[in-house]
């Protein structure tokens, strides 16, 4: 297995009582809640944490894009990836991802990713996402165009990376006479592409296509959903005449490990509950604007509405459904081992800082995970990775 350290870089100093006045930490929470002096300290702290991930044995570090909220402070993830590109020497840098439909000109993503790939001699992993529903409110992008824009932007970026420019691109949303991406990516024909998703048949059917074989990442979902979607990916691969490698499947999950179960539970509890109940808080209209999901998916969500808007979550519920992995070293090793054998993912992306988890506990969590958990899970999924692309 390969291990990546995932970071959301939340505004951990958020006044957690904000919810008495505002219904979400997204879109409409005034940015007067953000103190740049505290932000300065947080940004540097978080970069230190991701650099530390290399030291304790992770294979990669992950940054991502979010807008207008306290949940994640990386509206331009390339800034963080650029900072990490020079301070790390070995780890992959995964930008998971850029939210393609939110970006007016997707060629800026082709350029930004190619730059990072050049600086790091091919350590970039290119993640493409659609963005969270709330960001369509913040960014004024039409959610009903989200799927189409995502696909068209993806095609434009990959063609820009792989075809000799200049060439014309004639799309519905993007039209260029001279696509000519400088610099070209270091990895040829292009950096590996990962597709983070909360679970969607449409996304899986697209990612699994033999022309793409993109690594599909299930993010922040109950284990039952994780198992269902990973099985769906494997089934869809078989239907298309090939067997999916474990390295086409990844799981992103907040995780806390300590020396004992009791210590892990005690230390993580307030911070993971803040993460789900304060930083991720939003009404359904904000999370799922019309058109963001297909009509069929939206109907499914409406029918399962009770589950989605079920009020405040506790650490016990989160642990029970596997949306939060927490325990002593042996417990964590056993759980991940069992899930890996059952579900078959080859990448594990642990978010080892979440919500208000402070620096000392984050580093302790990372150190134990890196030094005591990774070595015991490393041997899993030891199938060869999908055939490396020729340079």
């Amino acid at each position: 297995m390969k291990f990546y350290c995932f970071h959301l870089m939340p505004y951990a100093d958020l006044d957690l009582d904000y919810y008495k006045k505002y219904d979400s930490a997204w879109v409409t929470l005034p940015n007067s809640y953000y103190d740049p002096k505290k932000g300065h300290i947080l940004y540097n702290r978080y970069l230190d944490e991701l650099e530390y991930a290399e030291e304790v044995g992770f294979d990669g570090v992950c940054v991502n894009e979010h807008h207008s909220n306290a949940y994640g402070l990386m509206p331009v993830p390339g800034v963080m990836a650029g900072a990490l590109a020079r301070r790390t020497k070995r780890v992959k840098i995964a930008v998971l991802g850029r939210a393609l439909p939110l970006i007016n000109n997707p060629l800026t993503v082709a350029e930004e990713f190619a730059m990072i790939d050049n600086i790091t001699a091919g350590r970039l992993v290119a993640g493409f996402v659609r963005g969270i529903g709330a960001e369509y409110h913040s960014w004024g992008v039409n959610p009903a165009e989200s799927h189409d824009r995502f696909h068209e932007a993806h095609d434009l970026i990959v063609r820009g990376w792989t075809e000799t420019g200049p060439f014309p691109f004639e799309g519905k949303y993007y039209h260029f006479n001279y696509v000519n991406v400088w610099p070209r990516p270091y990895q040829q024909p292009h950096p590996p592409i990962w597709i983070p998703s909360q679970g969607s048949r449409e996304t899986i059917e697209w990612a699994v296509d033999p022309a793409r074989k993109y690594t599909y990442l299930q993010t922040f979902s109950p284990v039952t959903a994780l198992a269902r979607y990973m099985q769906m990916y494997r089934d869809e691969a078989e239907k298309r005449g090939y067997t999916a490698s474990p390295m086409q499947l990844g799981w992103a999950v907040p995780t806390y490990v300590a020396d004992t179960d009791a210590e892990a539970y005690r230390e993580a509890k307030p911070h993971v509950e803040n993460f789900f109940n304060r930083f991720l808080r939003m009404p359904p209209e904000m999370l799922l604007p019309p058109g963001y999901l297909s009509l069929a998916s939206m109907k499914g969500v409406m029918k399962a509405k009770g589950a989605m808007t079920g009020g405040e979550k506790t650490i016990d519920e989160l642990m029970k459904v596997g949306m939060f992995m927490c325990g002593g070293v042996d417990t964590i090793v056993q759980k991940f081992e069992a899930y890996q054998k059952q579900i078959g993912f080859g990448y594990l992306l642990t978010a080892l800082q979440f919500g208000t988890l402070p620096h000392d506990l984050t580093k302790k969590n990372m150190k134990i995970f890196g030094e005591k958990v990774i070595p015991r899970l490393r041997h899993l999924a030891e199938e060869p990775a999908p055939k490396a692309k020729a340079v």
Binding site: V27, T28, Y136, H137, G140, V141, N142, P143, A144, E145, P283, P284, E285, M286, P289, P290, G291, L295, M298, K299, M302, K303
Partner: protein, 261 residues
Amino acid sequence: MSEPRQSFETVAGCKVNLRRAGRGEPLLFLHGAQGAPLWLPFMAALARRFEVIVPEHPGFGLSDTPEWLDNIADLAFFYLDFMAALGLERVNLVGSSLGGWIAAEIAVRDQHPLKTLTLAAPSGIHVKGLNPADLFLWSREQAIRNLVADQALAEKMLSQPQSDEQIDLMLKNNFTTAKLAWQPRLYDPHLYKWLHRITVPTLILWGDSDKLMPPAYGPEYRKRIPGSKLLVFKHCGHLPHVEKTGEYVAAVTEFIEGARP
């Protein structure tokens, strides 16, 4: 209340659900973002004087969602084809909210099929500093409470449970509304430039307590459409045809009957 005749008509490759009732001059009603799932009392009342024709727009209700549907201009051209296909002439075109926007877009393109134009709380133009409310952040309950001024009426509407079919239609209507009006939000940046082309008699209606489209848009529309009249209903929200049915029907009827182009 007389039952309307229901049928499906295919125009521009799109099958639309159509209800019609009554005899007399044609009155084509273009619904707003909530669709037109029901034959409402104001339609029945108007059908005593007019032939009332109520289609569900492409992308709404039981009508198809055609591949070509991207924006309000598509619906304006669709309805020009629709009137031609149904052989409608001297049409009294009546639009509510999003339907008022479509009606205005039709009229600036081609008003030959029209006798009169009635716009009730139309979206479609933007005046700086005058922003509609963000209906896409409203829950269903907030939407109902904000759309009508009379909260007793809101309570009554909220007390009626939604069936699965109604939820499905609501999701479809919301999807198409977002497609048409998310960005720019509820307007076409070019429409205001051409409203002066409208020369058919035009009546603009607004509720004085409209929380979605600010009533200050009434005078803005009136200024831009030559010879148009503005009538404001007191203690009325965004849906005068629902909330002030009697006054609305009287105003529309009087206006159409008085129009002698």
